[in-house]
C-alpha cells in the first residue's frame, strides 16, 4: 500500500516539475521576449522587483534555478503590469471564490449524477431510463459556456431573485454552479448506468438476493458500492475539467475568481502572472489526482491488498 502511494507521489512530483519547466521554457520563448528589458515598456519600480526576483539579466540557467527556488518557497511571482499585488496575494483572495464554485459543482454532480445513473440502470429501457439518458446526452454535449449563457438569458433575465452575474450571496452561486456541474453530472450518470448494469449482472448480486436481504439492501450495499468505483477513478479528470470550465464560467457570470483572473492575465499577456497561476493550478490538479488515486485505493480492497504482494 505504501509502495503504491509512493509511486503516485513520485509521479506527481515529476509531473509538477515537468509543468514548471515547460512553463518556464515557453514563457521565455515568446517571440519578442517580454523579459528582455529593452523591448517592453515596464515601469521602473516593477522592473527592479522583477530583476531581483527573476534575475532577468542573468543567464537562462540561473534564471531557471531562481525560478525553481521561488516555487519551492511557494512564491508564485509578481505581476508584470501592476505592482499592487503578488500572485500569492491574488491567489489568496480569489482562489476561495473559485474553490467554492468548484466544490458546489462537484457536490451537485456527485450527488445527482450517480443517482440518476443508478435509477436509469434499475429501470433499464423504461421511462426513467430514457429520461435519464436524454438528460445525460444533453449534459455531455452542451458545453458549460453554452449552458451558462442560456441560463442567463432564460432564467436570470426572467427571475428577479436570480442575479445575472456577480458574487456575494448564495443566489449568486446557483446558476454558475449548475452550469459547471451539468457536464460532470451527465458523465457520472452515464458511467454509473453502464457500471450498474454490469454489476447487476454479476453473480454476487444473485448471492446477496439468495440470502433473503431486502431489495433495497441488495442495491445499496452490494450493487452501488461496486458500481461507483469507476466514477472515483475519473474524479481526477473531472476536477481538471472543472478548473478549465471555471475560466469560462467566471467570465460569463462576472465572478471574481482565479479563473477570471487567469483569463485576464492571458489576455493582457502578463507573463509572470500567467506563469505563477499556471504553476499553482498544476499543483492543485496534480494534488487532486493524487488524492483521487489514494481514495480509489482505499475504496477498492483488491488494489489495496494485491499491492502488498499476495
Amino acid at each position: 500500500m505504501a509502495k503504491y502511494i509512493l509511486k503516485r507521489l513520485v509521479l506527481g512530483i515529476i509531473t509538477i516539475w515537468a509543468v514548471i519547466t515547460i512553463t518556464f521554457v515557453l514563457m521565455h520563448s515568446v517571440p519578442g521576449n517580454p523579459f528582455a528589458t529593452e523591448s517592453r515598456k515596464i515601469p521602473e519600480n516593477i522592473l527592479e522587483n522583477l530583476k531581483k526576483k527573476y534575475g532577468l539579466d542573468k543567464p537562462k540557467s540561473e534564471q531557471y534555478i531562481m525560478y525553481l527556488e521561488n516555487i519551492a518557497r511557494f512564491d508564485f511571482g509578481e505581476s508584470m503590469k501592476s505592482s499592487s499585488e503578488t500572485v500569492n496575494q491574488i491567489i489568496a483572495r480569489r482562489f476561495p471564490v473559485s474553490a467554492r464554485l468548484g466544490v458546489q459543482a462537484i457536490l451537485i454532480a456527485l450527488i445527482f449524477g450517480p443517482a440518476l445513473g443508478a435509477i436509469a440502470a434499475l429501470y433499464q429501457n423504461k421511462g426513467p431510463d430514457y429520461i435519464a439518458m436524454i438528460i445525460s446526452i444533453i449534459g455531455v454535449s452542451v458545453p458549460s459556456f453554452v449552458l451558462g449563457s442560456f441560463l442567463i438569458q432564460f432564467v436570470a433575465a426572467k427571475v428577479d431573485w436570480i442575479p445575472i452575474g456577480g458574487w456575494g450571496e448564495f443566489r449568486h452561486t446557483l446558476l454558475p454552479s449548475f452550469a459547471l456541474a451539468l457536464m460532470p453530472l451527465a458523465q457520472f450518470s452515464r458511467l454509473m448506468r453502464s457500471s450498474m448494469l454490469e454489476v447487476l449482472g454479476q453473480d454476487y448480486i444473485k448471492t446477496a438476493k439468495s440470502k433473503g436481504i431486502s431489495r433495497f439492501a441488495v442495491i445499496m450495499k452490494h450493487a452501488v458500492r461496486n458500481a461507483i468505483l469507476p466514477i472515483v477513478s475519473i474524479l481526477g479528470t473531472t476536477v481538471s475539467d472543472l478548473v478549465v470550465g471555471s475560466f469560462v464560467i467566471e467570465k460569463i457570470f462576472g465572478i471574481p475568481g482565479l479563473g477570471q483572473y487567469f483569463t485576464i492575465s492571458v489576455f493582457n499577456r502578463d507573463y509572470t502572472l500567467i506563469m505563477g497561476v499556471t504553476v499553482f493550478y498544476a499543483f492543485i490538479l496534480i494534488l487532486a489526482m493524487l488524492l483521487v488515486d489514494i481514495a480509489y485505493m482505499l475504496i477498492d480492497p483488491r488494489i489495496r491488498l494485491t499491492k502488498e504482494g499476495h
Binding site: 454479476q202 453473480d203 454476487y204 444473485k206 448471492t207 446477496a208 438476493k209 439468495s210 440470502k211 433473503g212 436481504i213 431486502s214 431489495r215 439492501a217 450495499k221 452490494h222 458500492r225 461496486n226 468505483l229 475504496i299 477498492d300 480492497p301 483488491r302 491488498l305 494485491t306 499476495h310
Partner: protein, 334 residues
C-alpha cells in the same frame, strides 16, 4: 405426509426480443426431508432455470412462471411476492452457485457478508452474529476463522471461497439447500472435498439437497435420487442405483457412456454425444432427444412419449417402453 418440496407441472418461459423461449416445459418432482436429489443434464437443458425458479431468483421480466406449482412445506412459491420470498431465502431455502470467484462481493469483508444473512433472519446482536459467523466457518473447515472473517474474497482460493459460500448458505440451518453446479469451476481434487463437505453437513444438520450438475461422476457418491433432464423436460428419474445400473432412456445411457472410466481401454475414444440440443424458441413437438437418439423411431419425432414406471421410484419418458416398440425390436412380427 409433508413432502418438503413438491413441484407440479412447472413451466417457466422467457419473453425475449424475438419471442417466447420455453426453458422449462412441464416438470414434476418432489424432495423429501434430508435426502439428496441430483438434477442432471447438459448446459441449456433447463436445470438451472428450474433450480432458480424454486427460490424465485429468476429476473422476472423476462422470465415468467407459465404454469404449475412449487409447493414448499405446503405453500405455493409461484404465488408468493418478493417480500414473502425474502423470509424464505437464506432462511428455509438456500442456494450456492457455480463460480466461487464471482459469487462473492469483492468489496465486502467475508465476515460482513455472512453476518448480513444472520442478522436478517435471526434475532442476534452484532457480536453474537459475528460469533456465529466464526462458528459457520469452522463448520466448513476454514482454518483460522477469527482472522479470516476480516479478509476479502480475493484473499481466498477457489475451494475456500466455495466453503465460505456454503457457510453463508447454511447460516440459518435451511431445510433445503440448492447447489447449482457447485463443483464445476473447481479443480478435481477440490471437487471431492466440497462434495464431502456437503455430505457431512447433510449428515449433521439433516438438510435436503438439490444438486444441479452436468457431471454424472459427481452424482454417484452423494445423491439418493437422480433426475435426468433434457430440453426443458424430464427424461428419466430413479434412485441412484437404478439410474446407474439400469438406465432406461437412451439419453441417460449416453450420458453414462460418456463418463470416462478408469478401466477403459486406452484405444477407446471418448464417447461424446453428437449434435446439439434443440432450440427452445421453437421447441419440438415430439421427444426432444429425437435428433440425436441412436434408437429413434418414427413416432418419436411428432409425439412426446408417456411416463412409464419401471419400479415405484423409477420412470422414464420414452417410446421404447411401449410394448409395440419392444415387439419391433425383437425383429419379428408378433
Amino acid at each position: 405426509m409433508g413432502k418438503l418440496l413438491e413441484v407440479k407441472d412447472l413451466a417457466v418461459s422467457f419473453q425475449t426480443y424475438f419471442g417466447e423461449v420455453e426453458a422449462v416445459r412441464g416438470v414434476s418432482f418432489h424432495v423429501d426431508r434430508g435426502e439428496t436429489v441430483a438434477l442432471v443434464g447438459e448446459s441449456g437443458c433447463g436445470k438451472s432455470v428450474t433450480a432458480n425458479s424454486i427460490m424465485q431468483l429468476l429476473p422476472m421480466p423476462p422470465a415468467f412462471y407459465k404454469n404449475g406449482q412449487i409447493l414448499f412445506e405446503g405453500e405455493d412459491i409461484v404465488k408468493k411476492s418478493d417480500k414473502e420470498m425474502q423470509k424464505i431465502r437464506g432462511n428455509k431455502i438456500s442456494m450456492i452457485f457455480q463460480d466461487p470467484m464471482t459469487s462473492l462481493n469483492p468489496t465486502m469483508k467475508i465476515g460482513k457478508q455472512i453476518v448480513e444473512g444472520i442478522l436478517k433472519h435471526q434475532k442476534l446482536s452484532k457480536d453474537e452474529a459475528k460469533k456465529k459467523a466464526i462458528e459457520m466457518l469452522e463448520l466448513v473447515s476454514v482454518p483460522q476463522p477469527e482472522k479470516r472473517i476480516n479478509q476479502y474474497p480475493h484473499e481466498f482460493s477457489g475451494g475456500m471461497r466455495q466453503r465460505v459460500m456454503i457457510a453463508l448458505a447454511m447460516v440459518s440451518n435451511p431445510e433445503l439447500l440448492i447447489a447449482d453446479e457447485p463443483t464445476t469451476a473447481l479443480d478435481v481434487t477440490v471437487q471431492a472435498q466440497i462434495l464431502d463437505l456437503m455430505k457431512q453437513i447433510q449428515d449433521k444438520l439433516g438438510t435436503a439437497i438439490i444438486l444441479i450438475t452436468h457431471d454424472l461422476g459427481v452424482v454417484a457418491d452423494i445423491s439418493d435420487r437422480v433426475i435426468v433432464m433434457y430440453a426443458g423436460k424430464f427424461m428419466e428419474e430413479g434412485t441412484t442405483d437404478e439410474i446407474f445400473k439400469n438406465p432406461k432412456h437412451p439419453y441417460t445411457r449416453k450420458l453414462l457412456g460418456s463418463v470416462p472410466r478408469l478401466d477403459m481401454d486406452r484405444s477407446e475414444s471418448l464417447h461424446s454425444i453428437e449434435g446439439t440440443p434443440p432450440d427452445l424458441y421453437r421447441p419440438p413437438k415430439g421427444c426432444p432427444f429425437f435428433d440425436r437418439c441412436d434408437e429413434a423411431m418414427i413416432i418419436c419425432k411428432d409425439y412426446m412419449p408417456e411416463k412409464e414406471y419401471h419400479t415405484d421410484s423409477h420412470y422414464s419418458y420414452c417410446w421404447l417402453n411401449h410394448p409395440m416398440a419392444k415387439a419391433a425390436s425383437e425383429g419379428s412380427e408378433i
